[in-house]
Every structure is written in structure tokens, then in C-alpha cells.
């Protein structure tokens, strides 16, 4: 298990009304390179699965959730990592999910 950081890295929010959404997004990296063949799972406060997206070619991901406690879990070949965070309306959270190579 690797520890995930919490720095900016998600896709552009241009054109999205962030005031009505509780958004978490970010970028997944392995050895500093984008994870283009990975999966990010959104888990609720109890750790139960809520949603999943494949990472983009640039390693990016985004979820529109609701306010509260959440975590994301990155799956890629041979490695995983997790990050926990709180979401609030109008305050997008940007994460870097980084796995050492």
C-alpha cells in the first residue's frame, strides 16, 4: 500500500458550476508518469463502493459526489493506493494519487 498525496492535479473545471457540486478529482501517477490504464474507485464513509472510473490518457479522474467523508482507491497493475478526504459543495478537492515505481 502506498500513501497518496493531496495536491492539485485534476482536469480543468472550466464550464462546470462547482457551486452546486461536491467534486473530487485528480491525477494518478506511477513513478511520476500518468497512469493511463488504471481505475479509481470512490468509496463512501463506510468504505462501500459508490462509483468507478478508468483513468484518462493523462491519468486524470473526476467524481461528482455529495458532501461528506469519502475515499478514493486507485487500482493499477500490481499496485494500489488510497486517499481519504471531506467534500463540501463549491469546494472541489484535487488529489494526486502517486505510487512509487
Amino acid at each position: 500500500m502506498n500513501t497518496c498525496g493531496a495536491k492539485a492535479g485534476g482536469p480543468s473545471l472550466d464550464g462546470i458550476d462547482v457551486s452546486k457540486s461536491a467534486i473530487v478529482q485528480g491525477i494518478a501517477l506511477i513513478g511520476g508518469e500518468p497512469v493511463s490504464r488504471g481505475y479509481v474507485r470512490l468509496l463512501d464513509a463506510q468504505g462501500d463502493f459508490t462509483a468507478e472510473v478508468p483513468t484518462s490518457r493523462e491519468g486524470q479522474f473526476r467524481f461528482f459526489a455529495s458532501p461528506g467523508q469519502w475515499s478514493v482507491r486507485l487500482l493499477t497493475a500490481g499496485a494500489t493506493c488510497e486517499a481519504k478526504f471531506s467534500l463540501h459543495l463549491g469546494e472541489p478537492v484535487d488529489l494526486v494519487l502517486e505510487i512509487a515505481s
Binding site: 457540486s21 490504464r37 459508490t50 462509483a51 478508468p54 490518457r57 467524481f63 459526489a65 487500482l75 500490481g78
Partner: protein
């Protein structure tokens, strides 16, 4: 059906990439996924452009399905192996679709695209083409498909299984959390429905849980195996995943997929809706 006749694993696919009569078909929610890389030899079906009527909200007509499969070079006696992203959501939808139109031998790659990628198996960007076939479909098998009036009549009587996330079921979210939440439908769920999220039937790598675990899951959630069942979600693809589990893996009788799902039900005037867990 059973696990042996409705599923294959990634080793089986690897061994049968060049087997005559085996056709791999990728169907994804992310419609660019195939172009990012796909299993060698796989052809693509686009869940919206190929599998949705161009004008009405409906699946395509029999004649259009025949033309689609003929153009893709899929024959009636081929073994079709479907796989895709999102834990096979749209591949399961296509599986249900193939069964609806009477294809004899169709199976899912257990774990779909995700297991293939997590096992670091090879993907190619070479687009696959196959010689055209002359596919002949049957009429739709409506024993597999529920329509809205059946759903209304089923409230409080049959098993209604809402496979969306708990947050969508309660009304907290209007759509899956990876999608924008501005939706035209009201929020909530059909009264008397049991919320058994599709994800509870799958392992983290996208493979299905064991038959014993699946049977316990639905029994424990109050699904009466002796009663007819209708599964629904938002647009009918996640509920295809659960339909596959109940009808194909657990071999329950009389299980229907309501492909109108919450997009239809949540837009109907005057129907009962419940909020909360």
C-alpha cells in the same frame, strides 16, 4: 445457464484469440476506450450509436440488429465473448441484448477489460475487421425485458431490485457519481424496491463473486427466489449486470431487466416515488 456456459476467464480468452468461431466484442461506457487499446481481434460495439434507436428511446429494431451484427462479421453460430470497462456494465447490457434477440452462445469475459489490464495483458490499437456475415435474429424475447406498466404492477408484489448506489437510491445523488448531477428526473426509488448495488456482486478486480456468495447476497437482502424479479438502475446497463447474476449465474426463473429504468420511471407523472434508505 450457468457459470460454465455464460462466463470465460482471461486465460481462456488468451488461449482462444485465434480460434475460429470465437468473436471478441468490446462494449464500453467510455466510447474511446477501444481506440486506446483493445484485445487483439476484438470488434467494437458503441453502446449508443450501435445499440440505441436513433430517434425513439428504445433498443434497435430486429432488422437493425441483424444489419449491425452482419456488418461486424458476427454469425449466428459464433461464440461471442463480450467484455468492457466499468466492470462489464455495458458488456452485460450487450449480453442481455444478444439474448433478447436470440443469440445462442454468448458469454462475458469475467472481470472484463479491467482484469485484462490489471493482469498487464496485451492490448492493441489495430482496428479489427471481419468479413460481413448474414446474421438472422429472432423476435425480442420479452420474458427478459420489463416495461413500465409491469413495473408499476410489481410494486409490493414482485421482487424489485434497485441496483444503483445507496446515494442514488436515497435521492442524495441523481446519477452515478462519475457523472454530472443535473438530471431531468426526480430523485428517489420505486416503492418496495430493495437496494442491492450491482457492485456488491463483483470483486474489486471486476470478476463476479462466487455463486454461494451471490446467493447469500440476494437472499440476505430479502429477495424471494420463488417470486418473479425485475432489476432496474438509471438507464438499464447496471441492471443488466444484476440481471446476468440472477438469471444466468444463479439461474433464477423469471428475471427481467427494466431498461427504461429510473430515466423513464423518474419522469412519469403521478407514479409513487420514495426517498431515503
Amino acid at each position: 445457464m450457468s457459470r460454465e456456459t455464460s462466463l470465460v476467464n482471461s486465460d481462456w480468452v488468451s488461449l482462444n484469440l485465434s480460434t475460429s468461431g470465437v468473436v471478441l466484442v468490446e462494449v464500453d461506457e467510455d466510447t474511446d476506450a477501444y481506440e486506446k487499446g483493445h484485445i487483439a481481434g476484438a470488434v467494437k460495439l458503441h453502446w449508443r450509436d450501435d445499440l440505441q434507436d436513433k430517434v425513439r428511446r428504445d433498443i434497435v429494431a430486429k432488422s437493425d440488429f441483424e444489419k449491425l451484427l452482419s456488418d461486424r462479421g458476427i454469425a449466428n453460430d459464433d461464440t461471442v465473448i463480450l467484455y468492457g470497462g466499468n466492470n462489464n456494465w455495458f458488456a452485460a447490457y450487450a449480453y442481455w441484448y444478444f439474448k433478447l434477440y436470440g443469440h445462442k452462445d454468448v458469454r462475458l469475459l469475467d472481470g472484463g477489460r479491467k482484469i485484462w489490464e490489471l493482469e498487464s495483458r496485451e492490448l492493441t490499437t489495430d482496428v479489427s475487421t471481419r468479413p460481413a456475415s448474414k446474421y438472422v435474429a429472432t423476435e425480442q424475447d420479452h420474458s427478459l425485458r420489463a416495461f413500465r406498466d409491469e413495473v408499476l404492477a410489481a410494486i409490493g408484489k414482485l421482487n424489485l431490485v434497485d441496483v444503483r448506489s445507496p446515494q442514488e437510491f436515497s435521492g442524495e445523488l441523481a446519477a452515478p457519481a462519475h457523472l454530472p448531477q443535473e438530471q431531468g428526473q426526480v430523485r428517489g426509488h420505486i416503492p418496495s424496491a430493495k437496494n442491492i448495488p450491482w457492485a456488491k456482486s463483483a470483486n474489486e478486480d471486476g470478476t463476479f463473486k462466487s455463486d454461494a456468495d451471490l446467493a447469500e447476497l440476494y437472499k440476505g437482502a430479502g429477495v424471494n427466489v420463488d417470486t418473479d424479479t425485475i432489476a432496474y438502475c438509471r438507464i438499464g446497463e447496471r441492471s443488466s449486470h444484476t440481471w446476468f447474476v440472477l438469471h444466468e449465474l444463479l439461474e433464477m426463473k423469471n428475471v427481467k431487466n427494466y431498461d427504461g429504468s429510473w430515466t423513464e420511471y423518474g419522469s412519469l407523472v403521478g407514479v409513487p416515488v420514495e426517498l431515503g434508505a
